[in-house]
Structure formats: structure tokens, C-alpha cells
Symmetry: C2
Subunit: 464 residues, 2 copies
């Protein structure tokens, strides 16, 4: 792109909004996927309002410049990896959150952090449930783009379940409002729901209306150690067929040890797997749930089962679970999986993952939102060693294939982004993929929106 074109964008927006200095744009090239092949943006628009986003997209459409939307940059699938010569549109400065307590909704700008929405809601005695591992650092816009999940979704659902309205800037710069503060709205095609989880491939969200709920009751916690992840998986299948836990997380032996190394909490380092279950049902149902959860663990061979009604004691185990990500991350470079399978396939897939680890000569610790069948196998590798890298990538692909074979998905909550696009055709098949391409082209005929996410950008994606 020539300098004159970039200067048109600079001139069209207030001073300081457009950044072109490579020293400053460097920080906008990668998300948490840390892609080595990230491109260099021609410009970064640090939008302060929807109008800035509109101006940027009108300019991008006019000059056919690829647009990479960016929230907090905490994505784990390369959805915000810069494309060479692109304009990165960052919403990090759009952080306003307003609570409408009468309608129990939050109205948030896309750059507001998930934690900020939670806090603003809590100040009105309300709760915004979705809690991805990244909730302290990820933005609501990014959560909407990936339909982010988390620990409490086993009972309280994912981001989609809380989105009532979106303002979206379309690729041509028009702003449309989809939905609003109304709880039920079925007028017209459900475009709102097409945009949730669309990974920045259809437009840029500039405002989100989120449903809030009354605060969660204090939870009781059941903790169980098993000899193998499969036994823990069997307990999960048994439990979820009988009750609705508010949390049901699995950590395997390596993960437990990584957590203990990272932050000693007295977990049993010798166990094959740790299951942490919570129920926030009130009154007598809570006690019954605790009994039942403990019974399910014992019935599937738990070597030790602990139960506590003390929220603080329970929170310690929640923190152990939350520490798993950073603890594994601290061990060095890794490929992070996010497969999800029907819950009854959990034991089988856990076994298959161990077989894959043997086959490729790698270690694959697993942490899982087990109640949803959502697994985060982690494949450590040494990027400087081509053999290690090759084996890790082979294992990564084999785990995705195992999930597809089990009737599951390559991604439960992180998205496809650029990191998993090669595996998407196998999951969707040619007809769904072709239909998806047609719909994407209908919304973005020039093919400028986040090219390369979901699938490799192809000439036929852009209108001739």
C-alpha cells in the first residue's frame, strides 16, 4: 500500500487514533497464540468510538485493505494475528460499561474487559456469568467474537446465551443494530446470532447488550482423586446424567503437579486425576447434590473424596483450577487444544489422548471443563527443535481428529482463528463449508474482514 493511501486514513481520523510507527504497531501483530508468521500492519486504528470504526472500514473497503479486528489480544486461536499490510482495528480504548438494573442488562463497549462487566454488574447486585479463563484480561468484544465459554457454563451457558443486542459495523462501514434490551425478539432472520462467534469475519462489534442475572448462591464443593483420567471421566458422565453441577473440572496428574510447582496448595501429586465439582443449588437440594456427586465419584473408583460446604475452602480448589493455565504456561512453549465431545465420550477420548501421546512421543497434560466435554489437552514442545515441533503438531492434529471421530468439535470455546483452520474442513465437510463461504461473501463481498480466519483466504471469496 502506498504512503498516500495510509495518510488518507490518518487524515480522516482525529490525531493519535491511527498509529503507523512500526515500533508501536509491533505490539498489535500477535495475540496470545504468538504466531511466528504474523504480518505487519500498515496501520493500527485505536478506535475511540463506533464512528472511528466506521471510518476505518469505509477506507478499507475503498482501498480493499484487509481488516484485522482486535479486542484485548488474549485470543488463543490466532483470530487477531495481523495480516501483512492490513489495518488492525483495535477496540481497546472503547471500555464503557453501563448497567440498566430495571431491565437487568449491561451495555458495554467491546473493549471493556469481561471482569469489568462482572464488577459493574455486581455493583448493582447482579451477575454476568460467562467466565473464560481469561476473564481478567479478555474483552467483551473478543468474548462475543469467539462465543467464549468458561468454568460456570456447565450450568450457566456461554457468551451467546447472554447477548441480547449488538451494534456491528459492517465491512462497508455501515453500522447496524441487531436486537436490543428486549429479552425475546424473533423478528427477521436471526442475524444477531450469526454475528456471535463469527470471529471478526463479518464485521466489528461496537456495542454489546448483555443479559444479567441475580447473583450466584454460595457453592458446596466435592473434590475427588482418581487413579486415571478415564475413571474421573466416568464419574463426570454419571454425574451430568443425574444433576446439574455449577462447576465440573478435571485436572490430570501432570496438571496437578504443574499447579503444585507453580503454587503449592497441598494437592495429591500421586493421583492420576483430580475432579473438582460444585453445586450452587440452594437448601436441601445442595446437600442432596453433594451426596450424589460424591456417590458418583465413589461408584467410578475414586481413591479419595472430600466434600465441603465452606465457600472459602471451595474457592481454594477453584483457584487451583484457575492456576492450571498459568502453571502449564510457565513450563514453556505449548500447543493448546480446545476440543469438545459429547459428554459420554469423555472417558474414551481421554484414553485416546494418552494413546496419541505415546504414538507421537510427547506428553499431553489435560485440563478440562469436563461437565461440558470440553478438553484442553496441552502439548509442550521446543520450538527450536524441528523434530519436537513436528511431533507436537502431529499430536495436535491427531487429538482434533479424535474429537471429530467421537462426534465432537475441534473447538469448544477458543474459536478456529488461524491456528485451526486447516482442520475445519474435516469437521464441517464440503457442503457446510461451501455454505459458510457463501454467507461470509454475502456479508463481506470484498473479502476484507479478517481474511484467513476460519479458512484460508481464497480469490473466490472476494467479489470480482
Amino acid at each position: 500500500m502506498d504512503e498516500r493511501t495510509v495518510q488518507q486514513l490518518v487524515g480522516a481520523l482525529p490525531e493519535g487514533v491511527v498509529v503507523t510507527d512500526p515500533a508501536r504497531t509491533e505490539g498489535y501483530r500477535r495475540d496470545w497464540t504468538r504466531a511466528e508468521d504474523a504480518g505487519r500492519p500498515a496501520a493500527v486504528v485505536r478506535a475511540g468510538c463506533a464512528d472511528h470504526v466506521r471510518t476505518a472500514l469505509r477506507w478499507a473497503s475503498e482501498h480493499r485493505v484487509p481488516v484485522v479486528p482486535r479486542g484485548a489480544g488474549s485470543g488463543l486461536a490466532g483470530g487477531a494475528t495481523a495480516v501483512e499490510g492490513c489495518v488492525v482495528v483495535s477496540t481497546e480504548r472503547m471500555t464503557a460499561v453501563e448497567i440498566d438494573p430495571a431491565n437487568r442488562v449491561a451495555v458495554a463497549e467491546p473493549g471493556a474487559l469481561n471482569a469489568a462487566v462482572k464488577e459493574a454488574a455486581a455493583a448493582h447486585g447482579l451477575w454476568y456469568p460467562p467466565d473464560p479463563g481469561s476473564f481478567r484480561i479478555s474483552s467483551i468484544g473478543g468474548n462475543v467474537a469467539t462465543d467464549a465459554g468458561g468454568i460456570c457454563c456447565v450450568k450457566y451457558g456461554v457468551t451467546r446465551d447472554y447477548v441480547l443486542g449488538l451494534d456491528v459495523v459492517l465491512p462497508d462501514g455501515r453500522l447496524v443494530t441487531l436486537g436490543g434490551r428486549t429479552v425475546k425478539d424473533v423478528a427477521g432472520l436471526p442475524l444477531l446470532h450469526l454475528f456471535v462467534g463469527s470471529e471478526g469475519a463479518l464485521g466489528i462489534v461496537t456495542e454489546v447488550v448483555l443479559r444479567l442475572v441475580p447473583p450466584q448462591e454460595p457453592a458446596a464443593t466435592v473434590v475427588a482423586y482418581f487413579d486415571t483420567p478415564q475413571d474421573a471421566g466416568a464419574a463426570v458422565v454419571r454425574m451430568t446424567a443425574r444433576l446439574r453441577p455449577s462447576m465440573l473440572e478435571l485436572l490430570d496428574r501432570t496438571t496437578v503437579n504443574a499447579v503444585e510447582d507453580f503454587r503449592p496448595m497441598g494437592l495429591d501429586r500421586a493421583a492420576g486425576a483430580l475432579l473438582v465439582a460444585q453445586t450452587d443449588a440452594p437448601g436441601p437440594v445442595r446437600s442432596a447434590d453433594v451426596e450424589l456427586m460424591a456417590d458418583c465419584c465413589r461408584a467410578t473408583g475414586a481413591r479419595e473424596v472430600l466434600a465441603t460446604d465452606d465457600p472459602e475452602e471451595g474457592d481454594a480448589f477453584l483457584e487451583a483450577r484457575r492456576a492450571a493455565g498459568p502453571a502449564l504456561d510457565a513450563r514453556g512453549p505449548m500447543l493448546l487444544e480446545d476440543v469438545c465431545v459429547p459428554v459420554d465420550r469423555l472417558p474414551g477420548v481421554l484414553e485416546r489422548i494418552q494413546a496419541v501421546a505415546c504414538e507421537f512421543g510427547v506428553e499431553i497434560p489435560v485440563v478440562a471443563h469436563a461437565g461440558d466435554g470440553n478438553l484442553h489437552p496441552v502439548i509442550p514442545y521446543r520450538p527450536e527443535d524441528p523434530n519436537s515441533t513436528r511431533r507436537a503438531r502431529g499430536a495436535f492434529d491427531a487429538v482434533m481428529r479424535a474429537a471429530i471421530a467421537a462426534g465432537g468439535t475441534i473447538t469448544g470455546e477458543h474459536g478456529v482463528g488461524r491456528a485451526k483452520r486447516a482442520a475445519l474442513p474435516e469437521q464441517l465437510g464440503p457442503d457446510v463449508l461451501e455454505l459458510s463461504r457463501r454467507i461470509r461473501s454475502a456479508v463481506d463481498p470484498l473479502g476484507i474482514m479478517n481474511p484467513g480466519v476460519l479458512w484460508e483466504a481464497a480469490p473466490e471469496d472476494a467479489a470480482r
Copy 2:
């Protein structure tokens, strides 16, 4: 269409599947909207399996025949009104329901009634919550097509919240599987969610995977009489900002009297409005909820408040609410509204509806899923009297405009169908409408799927 073309379809399907005898196709011309201008189908395909649907759509694509999908024909917006010379594809014979208790899902064919899914789930100790007024007579396929709501959605959500997977036959006859038995799946564009609520405009659903949950706890009931619907509306606003009822329904004086005429149950005929609230929270929270609900009613001027922990007594009031539809229907022809507004706008919109009634010289009884802000004003009229019809239609439009002005929608759960398509542009605006047209055309380039639903079929909707 010439006879030879129809005979091709007859010959392509097993004997008895295709019906062309006008005496028999007559019964497939209308849904519960009873449209007077319904067209005459050239043929009705009474599909027995997905392959029959595929054959019908391939034939329709080849000959560019309009396709009108039909479930149980209980729609209230004319979504299944036949188009002249169309092929009606009825799924009424596809009624299989299978429960997978380990994964807590139901796998249903589209013709299965909502009640049949509920029963099959209950046989495994599970619950399928969505409960449209029509649940005993409406099919799951139709529920998916309209994203049907009901009484329990105030706490348990709508059809969309339970759809995990769909098999859909596309307009060209290809069958695609979207989602499955996996609880979380964000791989690719969220096409599953584009099809839920798409009113048969994008394809025909041939299988539905539905999430099931543990059975509901017995509910406690609060019943309150008010002088005016506005006072009852104010109680709803107060309540929903503080707790999460499992039912929150409003009946105005005319509706209460219609119910008493239809099935005497000792309701207070003199009250301006009746509010029926339930909470199914267990244990001490239930008692606290009941207190709080009663307090909210008293604080907004209730003339009488009753509370009961007895599920049978509570069920009697639920039955009163369920009788409202048939009771109003029994009074003669009416236009049925389905507007929905942000909950805090409820009192204002209730007042506006009374003003509309005065303005047009009509009576407008109101029954409402008040906790969701979803109102069903009913406008009785005499079809044989042009003046009465004109006034009723004027009031119908004015109520929709009032909902839009309040930041709400023309339809909360019935859909746009053909009955409300004239009002859709005002709600969506030109940009969203144009985007919707582009997406519909991307899925159905020939414009054969349910033409005339959502918006008037136009030549530009069909590829040239």
C-alpha cells in the same frame, strides 16, 4: 405448472407420499392464522424421512417451484400459508423421538410434537423446558422455525437455548448437519443459530438434537389482583429486577372474564388485572422469593395477594393462564399480537395499548408473558364488517408501532411469517433488511424457500 412436472415428483417418491387431490391438499393450505388469501398447492409431500424431503427440494429447485415447509400447522403468523402452485412439504409423519440419557439430549424428527418430546424426556427423568401455548399441538420443527417461547422461558429460555444440532435440507436438496450432541461447539460460522428462527426461509429441518435438563422443582405460587394492568406491570418490573421467577404471567380484566366464561374457576372478575407468579427455587430461597414477589405486588398497589406452596393449587392458576388463549379464541375472530418490549417499558406500553383501543374504537384484551415483556394483545373483529376489519387492522399496526417505539419488537415468539411482514422494515431499518436479503439469497439463490415469509417476495430475491 403442467401436469407432467407434478407427475415427475409423484414418480420420484414412494406411493402415497405425494398428494395432489385438491380435496386432500385443501387441508394443507392454512395454518392457525387462517389466511383468507391462501394459495392452492400443486402438491403436498407428506415426507416420511429426510430423503423424501431431499427429493422434493431437488425437484422444486429444478423446476423453480415455491416450497412451503409445514410442521403441525399451528403457526400464528402465517408462516405455513400455502402459496399458489407451491409444493407443501409436510413433516407431520416424521415423529420419532429418541432420548440419549448419558448426554442428556433428545434426538427428534421435526414432526414430533413438543409434548411428545417432553413425555419422552420425562420417561428418563429429564425435562425439555420450552412450553409454547401450543405445546400439545405444535411440532418441534415448527418450534425451531419460529424459535418458540412459552411460559417457562422467563427463567428457562426459549427453543434456541436448547437446540444443539440440526439436520437441514438446503433448497438444492443437499442435507447438512449443523452441530450435534456436543454441548459447546464454536467451529466455523454459527450456521446452526442462523437456521433456528429462520421460519422455513433457508431450508427444511429433518432432525433436531435438543438439550435436556433435570426436572423442575415444584413451584410456589403468588397470585395478585390489581386495579389496572399498569399496576401489575409495575409489579413485574419490580420483581424481575430482584429475582428470577419461573413463571410471571399477566391477564387483564377482559381476559380474566373470558377465562371465567370459558371455564369458571372463581377468579376475581372485577379486578383490572391478574398476575400469576411462580418460583421453583428450592428450600429457603423459595420462601424468600415468595415473600419478595408478594412484597413487590403490595408495593405497586395490589388489591389482593395470595400465596401458596401447594403445587396443585398453583397448577390451577397455571391452567387459568393456559385457558386464556382458547377462552379468547372462543369469543370469535381476532387478530393476535405478539409484541415484546424491554421489561421496564411494560407499564407504558400497557397504557399505550389502552389508548390505541380507544383511538380505534376496539377492545384489546391483553394476556402477557409479562416477565419477558412479551404481550399478546388480542383484537376481536367481525370479518364480515369492513369497518370492523379496518379498525382492527389499524389497531394491530398501532400496537406494533408502539412496541417498536419502546425499543421492542413486533414479535417475541410467533415469528413474522406472512401476517407481519409489512411491519418488519420499520423495525429492522433498510440496512438490516438489505443484509438479511443478501444472506437469504446466499442460502437460497433461486428464491424458492417459503417465499413471502419475512418480507414480500421480490424478483431480486431470485438469482437471474
